[in-house]
């Protein structure tokens, strides 16, 4: 086994050769290397960071406007949450809970412009889920009242008022709304008719349009709990879902556990979950797809960066083949020469990383904060977590180490005399 002293000598000579080569190397070669590695880091982080930002915003929108921090649904096979009185009583007495909203859901077809149709002409209609809410409770739990883009939100004394999700009407969503048919251009004060599966109808007055960019929410319509309970023919207060908001994000899982334990104790197995688990499957799939795209783009970037460093080091080492042979003839060990090339590659990588990181955090992040990518489902900001960036920096360093080592090794391992004589 090589002694520590030997390794120290190799490292010292490698550093000596690398530093001299870097200091007196061609400026254009140095700039190209740094520029390519800077671009590689950006390629490695920006696309993935934007996709992360989009998925994060999608998740955040859903959490803030729909599920809250904790989301409760009925046990499997049931329409309504079990024993809500006990549940609400527990929630009322839990310190960190800021608000909760019990909701009643009912499927319906909404019709518009039905008063002006005659003969074969059918009114504009669309399927929706009517969500019966207590407006005050909803305001303490979600940001729905803040997401009104037209008109106003529901008030507690409203009876026939309805707030439409932006996907149900034209004029609020760019591109596809996710709904096959819309009601068309509906104005505040217009009447819409809800038609239920039993044939009953009820006429609502549109008081507002809500746009959250969370498709699950934007495809719903919001009415007062009292009216929907009556339209559903319920004799008592029943709830299809409950959203809970807390002021302590670190204690969410313990609160879920507390509620589950309480449920288990009374044999009520409501489906209690954190926001991330309550996310619609499509969104979870989207997150996975975006992560995959980000990784693919990143892998391509690493490959391009790796090949570039490889080629530059290979050309550099090839053009110095004779010098390498002479150094070997003088007794400079191959390992020291190979290490010197690795040091050079790492040096350029580190400079590229420093510049890249500065551009990422001091320019691009701020730029996307001010000018997010506006997508139908979210606003894409550049999300750069510490672990995310660190991992990509490590990947780039390791790649550069490999792409510095291989070409240097290929050249340096050649016969010393052949290198000297250039044959």
């Amino acid at each position: 086994m090589k002694s520590l002293n030997y390794i120290r000598r190799i490292v010292r000579v490698a550093l000596f050769v690398a530093i001299k080569s870097i200091r007196r190397g061609q400026i254009t070669t140095k700039l190209v290397m740094v520029f390519i590695l800077f671009l590689t880091l950006l390629n490695l982080t920006v696309v993935g960071g934007l996709l992360n930002g989009i998925t994060e915003d999608v998740g955040d929108n859903i959490k803030k406007s729909f599920t809250g921090d904790i989301f409760i649904e009925p046990p499997s096979g049931y329409d309504y949450i079990k024993n809500t009185n006990d549940l609400f009583s527990r929630l009322n007495n839990y310190d960190t809970i800021v608000g909760y909203s019990g909701r009643l859901l009912k499927g319906a077809t909404l019709e518009y412009d039905y008063k002006h149709t005659s003969g074969n002409k059918k009114p504009s209609s669309t399927g929706t889920t009517l969500m019966g809410i207590n407006p005050d409770a909803e305001a303490t739990t979600t940001v729905l009242p803040d997401k009104i883009v037209e008109g106003r939100f529901l008030e507690s004394n409203d009876w026939d008022a309805i707030v439409l999700g932006s996907s149900l009407v034209d004029g609020y969503t760019k591109g596809s709304t996710g709904v096959s048919d819309t009601l068309g251009y509906v104005s505040i004060g217009d009447k819409v008719r809800a038609r239920f599966s039993n044939g009953n109808t009820f006429e609502f007055t549109v008081v507002g349009v809500v746009h959250t960019k969370a498709s699950t929410v934007d495809q719903r319509s919001f009415v007062n709990y009292k009216i929907l309970r009556q339209l559903s023919g319920l004799g008592s207060n029943e709830y299809s879902e409950v959203a809970i908001r807390t002021n302590d994000q670190t204690a969410v899982s313990s609160l879920v556990k507390y509620l589950e334990d309480a449920d288990a104790h009374t044999n009520y197995n409501n489906d209690i979950k954190e926001a991330s688990e309550a996310m619609p499957k499509a969104i979870a799939d989207l997150k996975k797809a975006f992560a995959l795209i980000g990784n693919l783009v990143g892998a391509t970037a690493v490959l391009i960066g790796l090949v570039t460093v490889f080629v530059i080091i290979f050309i550099n080492a090839s053009s110095r083949r004779r010098q390498i042979g002479i150094l070997k003839a003088q007794g400079i060990e191959s390992s020291a020469l190979i290490l010197s090339y690795i040091f050079q590659a790492l040096f350029y990588t580190i400079i590229g990383i420093i510049i890249g990181t500065a551009v990422l955090f001091f320019f691009l992040q701020g730029f996307f904060e001010k000018h997010p990518l506006s997508l139908p489902m979210a606003d894409g900001q550049l999300l750069l977590g510490f672990n995310y960036v660190t991992m990509r920096i490590i990947i780039l360093m390791v790649s550069s180490l490999i792409s510095g080592f291989i070409p240097a090794w290929l050249i340096i391992r050649q016969n010393t005399l052949d290198s000297i004589l250039g044959r």
Binding site: N5, R8, R9, R12, V13, F16, V17, K20, S21, R23, R24, G25, R322, Q323, I326, L327, K328, A329, Q330, G331, I332, E333, S334, A336, N415, T416, L417, I420
Partner: protein, 225 residues
């Protein structure tokens, strides 16, 4: 002392085998200044490469100080060269990005010498060769003669047992060549063994011994002193 026994070197190109060295035996005692001369293609440089372990002979053995060294692996040969041999090449072979001082201290750094000690050692050699004022110059800023003196400094600063020189005056004018030969004479006087390949008869005559090679064989071995 260096001794070579029945050194054979063949170059193979396809089916053609060229016999460059045809079984050379030679013994050079410590402190001797030997000039190897011969016409182009006679095998004199090839002989130097075999003796200095830069190349591997097809057959035969090389002994240095009684130790068989021709069977060492590449890494061991590199270390052996570092600790025992110095080289001077025809075209000086200095690293262009390194100053004269950087070029000269590198072998000592590889030997583990402290950088300041290595610099002092190089300064001393530079002073004795009259090039101390050129220490911070890059090779491109030096004349051929100055570069060759830096090259010799690099070779001897680590105090090698044997100094090998391959046509060291080939690229120099007569004044610089003579200066270089004086340097060789001076270090040889201090006990340095030198094996120099040259095609210039007049410089060979400055050595202690002249070995003449033709067609891969020693045809004449003359002791001048």
């Amino acid at each position: 002392m260096i001794r070579i026994k029945n050194i054979v070197k063949n170059f193979i190109s396809g089916t053609v085998v060229t016999k460059v060295l045809k079984g050379i035996d030679l013994e050079i005692p410590t402190g001797q200044f030997v000039a190897v001369i011969g016409p182009s293609g006679s095998g004199k440089s090839t002989l130097l490469y075999q003796m200095s372990l830069i190349d591997r002979p097809t057959n035969g053995e090389v002994f240095v100080g009684g130790q068989l060294v021709s069977n060492l692996n590449e890494s061991e040969k590199t270390i052996f060269r570092l600790e025992n041999f110095g080289f001077v090449f025809q075209d000086y072979a200095l690293i262009p990005e390194f100053t004269a001082m950087d070029n000269a201290i590198l072998p000592n750094l590889m030997l583990g010498t402290d950088i300041n000690v290595a610099k002092k050692m190089a300064e001393k050699v530079f002073e004795s060769f009259g090039i101390a004022h050129l220490a911070t110059h890059l090779p491109s800023q030096l004349s051929g003669g100055e570069q060759q003196r830096v090259s010799v400094s690099r070779a001897i600063v680590k105090k090698p047992k044997i100094l090998f020189a391959d046509e060291p005056t080939a690229n120099l004018d007569s004044v610089a060549s003579l200066q270089l030969m004086k340097v060789f004479k001076k270090i040889n006087k201090d006990g340095q063994t030198i094996i120099m390949v040259t095609h210039e008869e007049n410089y060979a005559q400055m050595a202690d011994r002249v070995i003449q090679i033709k067609d891969g064989q020693i045809i004449k071995d003359t002791m001048l002193k």
